[in-house]
C-alpha cells in the first residue's frame, strides 16, 4: 500500500490495516507520517493540548514478577532498595500536597505485585486518600495488578473491581499491556497476565462504567508487525466498549534492568510511534506524550506528531527514573503551559476524564514566542 493510498484512507476515515501500519513504520520520511498524523490530531482536537495536575504514588516495589525491562521492582521484602509504604506514609504524601495548596485533581497509583499484603491494604489505601480529599480522582492499579488480586485473593475480576470502586477507585491506568504478542510476552514478562487476560480486565471495567487508558511498551525485542498488531487489538476492544480514553506509547529505557544491552529507541522512532498510533487508533480519542519518559523536548515535538496530551505535573515518579530517565520529577503547571504555548498549541487543563478544569486566561500564564513575533513584525513593517 503506497503512502498516498494510506493518506486517502485516513482522509476518508477508513480504518487502517496491519499492512498499512507496517508501511507507515517503514515509510522513509517520518515527517510525512507525522504530517498526516497531525492532520488527524487537528481534526479531532484542533490546537487544544491537554494536561492535568497529578501526583504519583508507587506504594510498593516488591513484585513477584521479574520482567526483564523493569528497573523498579524488587523480588522480595528485604531486598536492597525494596520498600512498602505504610498507609500513613502514602496518605502523608497527599496531605503534604493539600497543605501546600497544590490543586491536584488526580492520583496515579501503580505498584508491584506484592505477595504478602492483604487485599485490605489496597482498599484502605484508596479509602484513606478519599477521606483526605473526597474530590480527588483515583486512577489506580493496572490490569496486571487487578488480575493478580483476583487470583491471589480468590475473587473474580469483576468482584475485585467492585470492591476497589467501593473503596474509591475512579478509573484504571493503562500500564502492564507491554506488547500483546505471546512470543514477546513470554520472553520479557512471562510472569504477567496474558494479553487476553489484560484486555478482559479492561473489558470488565468498561462494562462496569469505569474508564481506562491503554499503553504499549516499545523498543525491546518486538517487531514492527507486533507493535501494529498490539494497536489493532486495542482498537478492536475499543470498538466493542468505547471505554479507552487515551493511548500512551511507552519507550523502553535500558538502564538498570535485564535488557541493558539494548539501545533505547531514538527520537525519530519515538515520534514515528506516536504518529502511527494516532493513525491506527482512530477510535481512541487521545494520544499522550508522557514527558517523564520522552523528555520534555521530544514530548513537546510530539505535539506535532499526533499527540494531544502531555500527561500531568507528576510528582515523585519512580519507575522510569530507576531506569535512568534524566527528566525532572515534577513540572509546574506554568511550565507545562509555556511548553505547550511555545509549541504553537493551546493548553487546556483537564481532569482525568477530560473535563475542562481551566483554559485561556484562567491558566497559569506565560508569553508564547509567536505572539512576540507578530509584535516585532509591526515594528519592522
Amino acid at each position: 500500500m503506497s503512502f498516498a493510498a494510506i493518506r486517502d484512507k485516513v482522509r476518508a476515515g477508513e480504518p487502517l490495516s496491519l499492512a498499512d501500519g507496517v508501511a507507515l513504520y517503514e515509510h522513509p520520511n517520518f515527517i510525512e507520517v507525522g504530517t498526516l498524523a497531525n492532520e488527524v490530531r487537528e481534526r479531532l482536537h484542533g490546537d487544544r493540548t491537554f494536561f492535568n495536575r497529578n501526583m504519583h504514588i508507587n506504594a510498593t516495589n516488591v513484585c513477584e514478577a521479574s520482567c526483564m525491562f523493569c528497573s523498579f521492582a524488587r523480588l522480595k521484602v528485604g531486598d536492597e532498595g525494596a520498600y512498602t509504604m505504610t498507609h500513613e506514609e502514602a496518605w502523608g504524601r497527599l496531605r503534604a500536597r493539600v497543605a501546600a495548596a497544590d490543586a491536584i485533581t488526580e492520583i496515579h497509583i501503580v505498584n508491584g505485585l506484592h505477595p504478602g499484603l492483604p487485599f485490605d491494604y489496597y482498599t484502605e489505601l484508596l479509602a484513606g486518600l478519599k477521606r483526605i480529599q473526597p474530590a480527588i480522582h483515583l486512577k489506580a492499579f493496572t490490569a496486571v495488578e487487578i488480575f493478580y488480586y483476583a487470583k491471589k485473593y480468590g475473587m473474580s475480576v469483576a468482584e475485585v473491581l467492585t470492591r476497589l470502586r467501593t473503596a474509591g477507585l475512579d478509573s484504571i491506568p493503562g500500564g502492564g499491556a507491554e506488547i500483546f504478542a505471546p512470543r514477546v510476552r513470554k520472553k520479557i514478562c512471562d510472569d504477567k497476565c496474558t494479553a487476553d487476560e489484560w484486555l478482559d480486565v479492561h473489558r470488565t471495567a468498561h462494562q462496569m462504567g469505569l474508564r481506562s487508558n491503554c499503553t504499549m511498551l516499545y523498543g525491546t525485542i518486538e517487531t514492527v508487525e507486533e507493535r501494529v498488531d498490539h494497536m489493532l487489538r486495542l482498537r478492536a476492544l475499543q470498538d466493542e466498549t468505547g471505554g479507552f480514553q487515551t493511548f500512551i506509547p511507552l519507550a523502553f529505557h535500558p538502564d538498570n534492568n535485564a535488557l541493558m544491552k539494548l539501545p533505547a529507541p531514538t527520537g525519530v522512532e519515538d515520534l514515528r510511534t506516536y504518529a502511527v498510533a494516532r493513525l491506527m487508533l482512530h477510535n481512541i480519542p487521545h494520544i499522550k506524550a508522557y514527558w517523564i519518559m520522552l523528555g520534555v523536548k521530544t514530548a513537546q515535538t510530539a505535539l506535532w506528531f499526533g499527540a494531544d496530551d502531555l500527561d500531568g505535573t507528576v510528582q515523585e515518579e519512580r519507575i522510569y527514573h530507576m531506569a535512568g530517565a534524566e527528566t525532572p520529577q515534577v513540572m509546574s503547571p506554568a511550565e507545562i503551559v509555556r511548553i505547550i504555548r511555545n509549541a504553537g498549541r493551546t493548553p487546556v487543563e483537564r481532569d482525568t476524564l477530560y473535563n475542562v478544569v481551566a483554559e485561556g486566561a484562567a491558566l497559569a500564564s506565560d508569553k508564547p514566542f509567536r505572539r512576540d513575533v507578530r509584535r516585532s513584525l509591526e515594528v519592522v513593517s
Partner: protein
C-alpha cells in the same frame, strides 16, 4: 585607463565563463585572449597577463603568490567526461601513462590518485594533439578537454578522474580558476567577471549549438555537459575540494609547500527584492523557499511568524534533499579543548570564564595535560581539535604559535581553533592587524576557524549580553580575512537572549552576504542559550519547537551554506534527529569533552556508534568527515 590583459581557455567548458566578456561586457577594462590551460599559466607566471584562467595545480605551483577570483571555477562533482585516463589495459596494469601537455591539474590529480592507490607508472608529457596516439599495450594516456568526448568510446578501459576523486573524498574537484597577482583586479572587476559567467550560464544552450556548428557533435550532448557535468560556482564545497586537493598533493610530495586558495576581494552581491512580496501567501512563500528561491528578510519574518511548523520543516527538508541528494549525514570525531578559562570579557551568559584577577580557579592547560587530551583523541579515531579559550592577557601570539607547531609535530590532528573574538584579542594585545595574526597562525599550523562567539550578529543584542565582545562587523571581518587567506570556517548563532525575530533574520542576512563574497563558510550551527548557572536571568523561549523553527528557517535563508549542523549537545540526540528532517545534513561531533556548554546544564554525550545509530534511525546514511567535509573511510 590601461586595459587588463586576461587569458582564457578555448575549450568548450570555459565558454560560459567568458561568454559575457565576448559579448561586450567589460570591453573597456579587459583585453581577452584564448590559450591552452598550461599556456595561460605560463603567461601569468611571466607577468605577460594580469589574470589567467589557469589550472588549479598551476595556481598551487606558481612561484609567486596568487589570488583567485571568488565565485568562478571550472569544477565537477563526480564524472566530468573530459578528464579521462584511457588505455588498452586496466589502470592497475599500466606501466606508463602519457600526459596531455596542455594539462596541469588533471596531471597532478592523476599522479595523486596513482599514489593513493599505490600505483607507480612512468609519466611522460606529450603535446595536446598527440596524446591519443601514445596509447599502446601497457601505455595509457590522460586525455583532457574536448578530445575526451571522442576518446571515451575508443578504448576498452577508461577511468573518469572526476569520478575517482569523488569516490576518494566525497567532494567536487576544481579544474581551473581565474587567478592573478595580488591586487591585479579589484571588486569592480570581480563583479564583471561574475556577471560574464552569469550571462554564460543563461546562454548554455546557445553555446552548445555554436560549438556543435563549429566542431561537429551533438548540441544536446554538449548542453548536457555544460548543464550537468561541469559546475561553474566556486562555492563552499568547491573550496573544500580545492583545499583537499592541495593538502593531499602536498602530502604526496607533489607540491613543494602548503597552499591555500586565497581570494581577491569581492563586494557583496545584492539580494534582489521581489516586488509586491508582502502580499504573497505563506503557501507560495513556502513553495518558493522549498524550490531554492532566495528569501528576503521580510519573507523570512513572515515564514517564521506564520508558517506551520511541519510545513516549514518540510520546505527545509526539500532544500536539504536538493543540496545533499545522496541521503548522507556526516559527522566528525573531534575534541573540544578549552586551553584557558581566564577571560577578560565577562559575558553575562557565560559561566565558564574566570577573570584574570581570580587566582584560584583560573587555568591554562599545560603541555602534559594537552598531550594527554590530544593522544586520547587520536586513540579514539579523532581527526581534529576544536581549540577555544578565554581572552587571556598573559598569552601572546608566540604562545599560540609554539603550541600549534608542537601539536603539528606530535599529533596527526587538524587545528580548528580560535574563534574570531580570540583572534581579534591577540591582534589587540600584540598591536597587529587581524590579517597578520591569521597569517602567522596559519604558518604555525592553524587549519580552520570555528564560528563561535557570533551569538546574535546584531549590535543591539550584543551590547546587552556581552558589551565587551567584538562588534558584528569585527566578527565578520575576522571571518572575511580568514576566508581570503584560504581558511574555511563555520558560523554559529545562539538565540534565546530575548532578541526579536528581526535580529535573528539580520544575523542570517549578514552571514549570507559574507558567504556571497567569499564562500568560506562550511556550515552553520545554532542552538538556544543554555541559561542554567549563568548571570543572565532570562525568560525566553528555548524549547525544542523554537529550535526546530529557527533551524529550518536557517536552512531556507542560508542558501549558499552547504551544511547545516544539528546541535545535539544542547538539544539532545532526539531533537537532533528530528532536525535532520528540518534541514540538517550534519550531526556535528562525537564529542569527547565540552566545558562551556556542559557547565551550563547540557549533559548529553554520544560516541560515534551512537551517532551512527541515530543517523540511521532517522533514515540517513552516516558518513564520517573531516573539517573540509571530505568523507573519511572508516575501518
Amino acid at each position: 585607463m590601461t586595459k587588463k590583459k586576461i587569458a582564457a581557455v578555448s575549450f568548450l567548458n570555459a565558454r560560459p565563463i567568458t561568454y559575457g566578456l565576448e559579448h561586450g561586457l567589460g570591453d573597456d577594462r579587459f583585453d581577452l585572449s584564448f590559450e591552452l590551460p598550461s599556456r595561460c599559466a605560463e603567461l601569468l607566471e611571466r607577468g605577460e597577463v594580469d589574470l589567467g584562467l589557469v589550472p588549479s595545480a598551476s595556481y598551487a605551483a606558481a612561484s609567486g603568490e596568487l589570488r583567485i577570483v571568488p565565485g568562478i571555477a571550472i569544477a565537477g562533482f563526480g564524472p566530468v567526461r573530459t578528464v579521462l585516463l584511457v588505455g588498452e589495459v586496466p589502470w592497475s596494469e599500466m606501466k606508463a601513462i602519457a600526459l596531455d601537455g596542455a594539462s596541469r591539474s588533471s596531471a597532478m590529480l592523476l599522479r595523486l590518485l596513482c599514489k593513493e592507490r599505490g600505483l607507480t607508472p612512468r609519466f611522460r608529457e606529450v603535446p595536446h594533439d598527440e596524446v591519443l596516439d601514445a596509447v599502446a599495450e601497457t601505455t595509457g594516456a590522460l586525455v583532457i578537454g574536448d578530445a575526451g568526448f571522442a576518446a571515451a568510446t575508443r578504448f576498452p578501459h577508461t577511468v573518469d578522474l572526476g569520478a575517482a576523486w569523488r569516490e576518494l573524498t566525497g567532494l567536487p574537484f576544481v579544474y581551473a580558476v581565474w587567478a592573478g597577482r595580488p591586487g591585479a583586479v579589484g571588486p569592480e572587476d570581480v563583479a564583471i567577471l561574475q556577471e560574464s559567467l552569469a550571462q554564460g550560464l543563461a546562454a548554455r544552450a546557445t553555446i552548445a549549438r555554436a560549438w556543435s556548428e563549429a566542431h561537429g557533435g551533438d548540441p544536446a550532448d554538449y548542453e548536457r555537459y555544460l548543464q550537468r557535468d561541469i559546475r561553474y560556482q566556486l562555492g563552499a564545497e568547491e573550496l573544500s575540494g580545492l583545499s583537499a586537493f592541495f593538502d593531499r598533493a602536498r602530502g604526496a610530495g607533489l607540491l613543494p609547500r602548503a597552499v591555500r586558495p586565497r581570494l581577491f576581494e569581492a563586494r557583496p552581491r545584492i539580494a534582489p527584492v521581489a516586488p509586491g512580496a508582502a502580499s504573497r501567501s505563506i503557501d507560495s512563500l513556502l513553495a518558493d523557499a522549498a524550490s531554492g528561491k532566495r528569501l528576503t528578510p521580510d519573507d523570512a519574518l513572515r515564514l517564521y511568524a506564520d508558517a506551520p511548523t511541519l510545513e516549514l520543516g518540510a520546505a527545509a527538508d526539500a532544500r536539504r534533499q536538493a543540496l545533499h541528494p545522496d541521503g548522507e549525514v556526516t559527522y566528525i570525531i573531534d575534541r573540544n579543548v578549552n586551553y584557558t578559562n581566564v577571560c577578560v570579557t565577562r559575558c553575562k551568559f557565560c559561566n565558564f570564564y574566570r577573570p584574570p584577577t581570580n587566582k584560584t580557579d583560573g587555568y591554562v592547560l599545560s603541555r602534559e595535560q594537552l598531550a594527554q587530551k590530544f593522544q586520547e583523541t587520536v586513540d579514539l579515531g579523532g581527526v581534529q581539535i576544536l581549540l577555544q579559550g578565554g581572552l587571556n592577557p598573559k598569552l601572546p601570539i608566540g604562545w599560540y604559535e609554539d603550541l600549534f607547531r608542537w601539536m603539528k609535530a606530535n599529533f596527526p590532528l587538524a587545528i580548528h581553533g580560535l574563534s574570531p573574538e580570540e583572534i581579534r584579542y591577540i591582534a589587540e594585545i600584540e598591536n597587529m592587524s587581524i590579517r597578520q595574526v591569521i597569517e602567522r597562525l596559519i604558518a604555525a599550523g592553524l587549519d580552520s576557524i570555528p564560528g563561535g562567539g557570533a551569538e546574535i550578529l546584531d549590535d543591539e543584542i550584543r551590547y546587552q549580553i556581552s558589551p565587551l565582545k567584538c562588534s558584528t562587523d569585527t566578527w565578520l571581518d575576522v571571518m572575511r580575512e580568514g576566508h581570503g587567506l584560504g581558511l574555511r570556517t563555520t558560523a554559529t548563532m545562539v538565540f534565546g537572549f530575548g532578541e526579536q525575530p528581526r535580529h535573528v533574520v539580520s544575523h542570517f542576512e549578514r552571514l549570507r552576504a559574507l558567504q556571497d563574497e567569499t564562500s568560506g563558510f562550511t556550515a552553520f550551527i545554532c542552538w538556544p542559550f543554555q541559561a542554567e548557572g549563568t548571570r543572565l536571568k532570562l525568560r525566553d523561549d528555548t524549547t525544542a519547537m523554537r529550535y526546530l523553527r529557527v533551524f529550518a528557517l536557517a536552512r531556507l535563508y542560508l542558501d549558499n551554506f552547504p551544511s547545516l549542523q544539528v546541535s545535539w549537545p544542547t538539544m539532545g540526540p532526539e531533537v537532533g534527529q528530528v532536525a535532520l528532517r528540518f534541514g540538517g545534513n550534519d550531526f556535528g561531533s562525537a564529542m569527547i569533552e565540552e566545558n562551556v556548554v556542559s557547565q551550563a546544564g547540557a549533559i548529553f554525550k554520544l560516541g560515534a556508534d551512537d551517532i551512527e545509530r541515530y543517523i540511521r534511525a532517522a533514515g540517513f546514511v552516516p558518513r564520517r568527515r573531516n573539517m573540509r567535509y571530505e568523507r573519511l573511510a572508516v575501518a
